[in-house]
């Protein structure tokens, strides 16, 4: 059967490929965060970046988000620069810090993303997401009344509420305890996987990278370069207890070894 050209177009909008061409970033103080980087991240897939602290993972994510301007090279998302996707409200990002506005309720914080993206504030959608991230009943609470893990889940709900085509997660589970972290890593992908959202994830945890992604890129110390590119072929959605499977452990070992080698090289 010949592929439907319209479907292909739909895919490129909903699940855009990301192309980095000679992407470079140096800061005013002279630090070079990113060596020239050429890479393609497939639409509709989840790619995880792991690497030593301060290697430039976050900078890469911010460049793709259009929050930093490249010193050289370019980022193309579905063929367009990040700014044009930003304007369509098609990018969403969960930051290291939950970054909830303290004067807004949980519901108000999530609805803010809709307002900023120029969409009507759809209360059912907001409340639905609040339930999905397990915060039912906390819609009227202020962030200060929530625990760290709850705030992080709220931030992820905010990122998802606009149904973005590109979802950027910068260590989104950083401040969460181990138990919640595992639960979030298992539950949250169910929210974006069915939509075919292109997802990029920065993390320190090798387990998390393998659990969440289709591909793990191991970055070298600054200026960041791709030290290893590891495909993760595990079933989706991930079955419970997959962390104990042989395949999973082997992949974790492979990523950890690459990380250790990259740090030496």
């Amino acid at each position: 059967m010949a592929p439907d050209p319209r479907a292909a177009e739909m895919k490129s909008v909903a699940s855009p490929d990301i192309v980095c061409e000679g992407l470079c970033k140096s800061f005013a103080d002279g630090t070079q965060a990113l060596a020239p980087l050429d890479a393609v991240f497939d639409g509709g897939k989840t790619t995880a970046f792991v690497g030593p602290s301060g290697c430039g993972k976050s900078t890469l994510l911010r460049l793709i988000a259009g929050l930093e301007t490249p010193s050289a090279g370019a980022v193309l998302i579905g063929g367009a620069p990040p700014a044009s996707l930003q304007r369509q409200g098609a990018i969403a990002m969960a930051f290291q810090d939950p970054s909830l506005l303290p004067w807004r309720s949980l519901r108000g914080n999530i609805a803010l993303a809709l307002t900023l993206a120029g969409r009507p504030a759809d209360r059912t959608a907001v409340d639905g997401l609040i339930d999905l991230v397990g915060l039912a009943g906390f819609g009227d609470a202020r962030p200060s009344a929530l625990s760290g893990g709850m705030r992080q889940r709220a931030a992820i709900a905010r990122a998802l509420v606009t149904e973005p085509s590109l979802l950027l997660l910068d260590e989104p589970f950083g401040a969460v305890d181990e138990l919640t972290r595992r639960q979030l890593a298992r539950d949250l992908p169910k929210l974006w996987e069915p939509r075919g959202t292109t997802t990029l994830l920065v993390t320190h945890s090798v387990d998390e990278a393998v659990l969440l992604s289709d591909r793990v890129l191991v970055l070298s110390p600054r200026p960041a370069q791709i030290a290893a590119d590891i495909a993760v072929s595990l079933p989706r959605p991930r079955p419970a207890g997959i962390e104990r499977s042989e395949n999973f452990r082997a992949l974790v070992m492979q990523v950890s070894d690459a990380l250790a080698e990259g740090a030496v090289a």
């Binding site: 409200g89 969403a92 930051f95 970054s99 506005l101 303290p102 993303a113 307002t115 900023l116």
Partner: protein
């Protein structure tokens, strides 16, 4: 952002502390009045109260007049501050120029702008209102700018990731994030507006507390002078408290204690710095000239930069003008600098002593914050009455004026010491003195310097008011004299010279601040 962790004990304790402080002050006052009875200096609390009861009609009318002017000026000045802050924020390239010009205008001595506004605007309420506005706009602008910039970077990233620009950033994030800072500014602005209105009334209004003050000084009516000062102080503290209460009612978070902006970040070379100063000077002169032209002010009263240059450089009596101006400036500086230094030093020293005795510091903080609200200049007649018209009186007034903001800033800074670092010291069983030297004092320095900078215009205001009202020396007196003799060239020259010296003084403190903070708090200077 600090969220209010409200325990019941805290407000109760600070309330008790304030009450205790007030009783102590009243007691000391009464004792002092008894000790100096018959010397026409100090009126006892009972005498003041009697006078107030006997003259309640007069006092009530004057207070209503001054309050109305202060309120009008408060509104105008704060709206101007908000407008300037939005301009500076929406158009970042203009920020430095806006802030520097705002500082320059704030450094214009009120006692000189008063008479000029009086001749330009006539005998009505205009000058009082404008002086009140001039007295408040900078003290609001400064914390507001801090607040508008205080939003964490990721909140702004959130706005940008949805493709929204600076305007959405200001409306959705920065404006609300700045609210607690705005309230902190408004709190300080309230007594400043009262002060501005009173200084405006000193310059020849028909009604108001300032008019009464001038009248009772001439008559040497001691209980009346004390009564006026007490009412001014009480009203200021009440308004200060009312705004604080409103802030607690409106906001979830506690208003921050903001004293002044952090130093401008960025290392600039000497050439760049000089170029910037030059640009600012040209901009200021152009603005000065443009205002006179656009408002079509009467050239007999309103002198432009060209007139001042002629008066100081090329007029036949230029040398004499320069000499008179120079002498007056030196006379003023001799009072400003020691008074400023003494007030600052005393504030810091007492803050350090207080912090070593935490229970006393807890009681002293609310009292100091309340006393900071007293428009000290309105008590100028008192201090002159008590300490005489000589150097001691004037220097003491400046010291008192600078002391309270310095004490509050330093106490706040000393308490800012990071808890985790204090824990490290505790784990080595370090004593309070060692903690003071290694943690608390370095943590205090940014607040100390911020208050040192902000005190410069206040110190100059205090000295010029005393010179103008009482001592008959220095630049304040020269300005009063030239205003009454219609020597407007001299008046404008004096204003310009005072403003330039104030800015230079301010710049000198900033330079010292940069050097010291580069060693103790590098994150503050970048």
């Amino acid at each position: 952002m600090t969220t209010a962790v409200g325990t019941i004990a805290q407000p109760l304790r600070s309330g008790l502390g304030s009450a205790f402080g007030v009783i102590l002050i009243l007691l000391a006052w009464d004792l002092a009045a008894r000790a100096t009875a018959g010397s026409f200096v100090l009126a006892a609390p009972a005498e003041v109260l009697n006078w107030l009861v006997a003259n309640r009609g007069l006092m009530g009318r004057a207070l209503a007049e001054t309050l109305a002017n202060a309120a009008a000026g408060f509104v105008i000045g704060n709206l101007a501050a908000i407008l300037l802050a939005v301009v500076a924020l929406a158009w970042p390239r203009a920020e430095r120029a806006v802030m520097n010009l705002a500082l320059l205008i704030f450094c214009l001595p009120l006692v000189a702008t008063g008479p000029i506004l009086r001749v330009l605007l006539g005998p009505g309420d205009g000058p009082q209102i404008w002086l009140a506005a001039l007295a408040v706009y900078y003290t609001t602008l400064v914390p507001l700018m801090v607040g508008l910039r205080a939003a964490p970077a990721s909140w702004l990233d959130l706005v940008r990731i949805y493709g929204r620009g600076r305007w959405t950033e200001i409306v959705r994030v920065r404006a609300r994030a700045a609210l607690p800072y705005l309230f902190a500014g408004l709190q300080i602005a309230a007594p400043a507006a009262f002060l501005g209105a009173m200084v405006g009334e000193f310059t020849g209004a028909e009604r108001g507390m300032g008019v009464l003050t001038v009248r009772f000084i001439r008559a040497m009516d001691v209980p009346a002078i004390w009564a006026l000062a007490c009412v001014a102080a009480l009203v200021s503290i009440l308004v200060f408290a009312a705004i604080g209460w409103l802030a607690r009612f409106v906001l979830d978070e506690k208003p921050p204690v903001i004293i002044a902006p952090a130093q401008a970040v960025g290392a600039l070379g000497v050439t760049a710095r000089m170029l910037r100063t030059l640009t600012l000077a040209v901009l200021a002169l152009a603005l000065w000239w443009a205002v006179i032209q656009i408002a079509q002010l009467n050239p007999f009263f309103a002198k432009g930069p060209d007139d001042v240059a002629r008066a100081l450089l090329s007029a036949p009596d230029a040398a004499e003008t320069r000499a008179r101006l120079g002498t007056a400036l030196v006379e003023t500086a001799v009072y400003v600098v020691p008074g400023w230094a003494a007030g600052l030093g005393l504030g810091a020293a007492i803050a350090i002593v207080l912090i070593l005795f935490p229970p006393i510091a807890a009681v002293a903080m609310p009292v100091a914050v309340a006393l900071r609200a007293i428009p000290i200049v309105t008590t100028a007649p008192l201090i002159v009455l008590v300490l005489g018209r000589g150097a001691v009186g004037t220097i003491s007034l400046v010291a008192v004026m600078v002391f309270f903001p310095s004490l509050v800033a330093c106490l706040h800074g000393l308490r800012q010491a990071p808890g985790q670092i204090m824990d490290v010291f505790d784990s080595y069983a370090a004593g309070p003195v060692s903690r003071l030297i290694h943690v608390r004092i370095p943590a205090m320095l940014p607040a100390f310097f911020a208050s040192a900078r902000m005190s410069v215009p206040a110190a100059i205001l205090a000295v010029t008011v005393v010179e103008w009202l009482a001592t008959g020396r220095g630049i304040g007196s020269l300005m009063a004299l030239s205003a009454s003799l219609s020597e407007y060239d001299m008046l404008w020259s004096a204003i310009m010279a005072t403003a330039v010296l104030a800015v230079l003084f301010h710049a000198g403190v900033s330079a010292l601040e940069r050097v010291v903070l580069a060693r103790t708090a590098p994150e503050q200077v970048g």
